[in-house]
Amino acid sequence: MDECNSVLIPMIPGSKLTKDVDGVRIGKTYYRQMVGSLMYLSTTRPDMMYFISLISRFMETPTELHQQAVRKIFQLFEGYN
């Protein structure tokens, strides 16, 4: 993630994240670890609170769509142009 492009906002305005029942599943543990690390950050980052609460709703059956959403959040923290 060190060499990713940076983003200003992690989600397109007005877009919704759904359960994505037919999506390609990804490892639960990996996803949960990512969400966990972001939750830790949320204690000093109220601006990320909504996105973190959103991605944590899909911890039961995470798919590639959800992973992309998490990646965007990481991109907001890190990354350069």
């Binding site: 940076s6 200003l8 906002i9 992690p10 989600m11 397109i12 305005p13 007005g14 877009s15 919704k16 759904t18 359960k19 000093t44 980052r45 109220p46 601006d47 609170m49 909504y50 996105f51 609460s53 709703r57 991109q75 907001l76 923290f77 890190e78 990354g79 350069y80 142009n81």
Partner: protein, 175 residues
């Protein structure tokens, strides 16, 4: 442009200010079960000290009701925060100012009339009109553009997001 890993809340020493509160909701934010998201944020001296963003546990039938529930949960937190502040000798005067961008939710809190659109609202949420009546909480209207709690309830446009982030009291620790 770089990432924002160095951003954080910056608490400044200065004149004491009142506890201010913004609460908001996003009606039917979740496409799977149509529940709304409610969010609130408390400010002390212009910097966020307490915030929450969570999906509501009931399905609401109108944006007013979603907002009403958000305001009720936020009032609970406000009362608790006041007691904590009192404990540390920082007691607040007057009612808790609760900024809300839905005027019909404000009206409903002042005058809980039961008509077709609101008669199903559970008693538990009528906690709020009670508090408004005895002057503990005061709901004040604020424009949607100035509603800081929006950042906790929906994905926003870049400009709005950056503006509200600054209003939360967040800044880079580097410069």
């Amino acid at each position: 442009m770089k990432g924002t890993i160095d951003y954080g809340l910056f608490y400044k020493k200065g004149k004491s200010q009142e506890l201010v509160d913004f609460c908001g909701s996003d009606y039917t934010g979740d496409l799977n079960d149509r529940r709304s998201t409610s969010g609130y944020v408390f400010f002390l001296s212009g910097v966020a000290i307490s915030w929450s963003s969570r999906k509501q546990h009931v399905v609401t039938l109108s944006a007013t009701k979603a907002e009403f529930i958000a305001a009720a949960s936020c009032a609970c937190q406000g009362i608790w925060l006041r007691r904590v502040l009192e404990e540390v000798k920082y007691s607040q005067q007057g009612p808790i100012m609760l900024f809300c961008d839905n005027s019909s939710a404000i009206k409903l809190s002042k005058n809980p009339v039961l008509h077709g659109r609101s008669k199903h609202i559970d008693t538990r949420f009528h906690f709020l009109p009670d508090l408004t009546k005895d002057g503990t909480v005061k709901l004040v209207y604020c424009k949607s553009e100035e509603q800081i709690a929006d950042i906790l309830t929906k994905p926003l446009k870049v400009e709005t997001f950056l503006k509200l982030r600054a209003l939360l009291g967040m800044r880079s620790s580097v410069n």
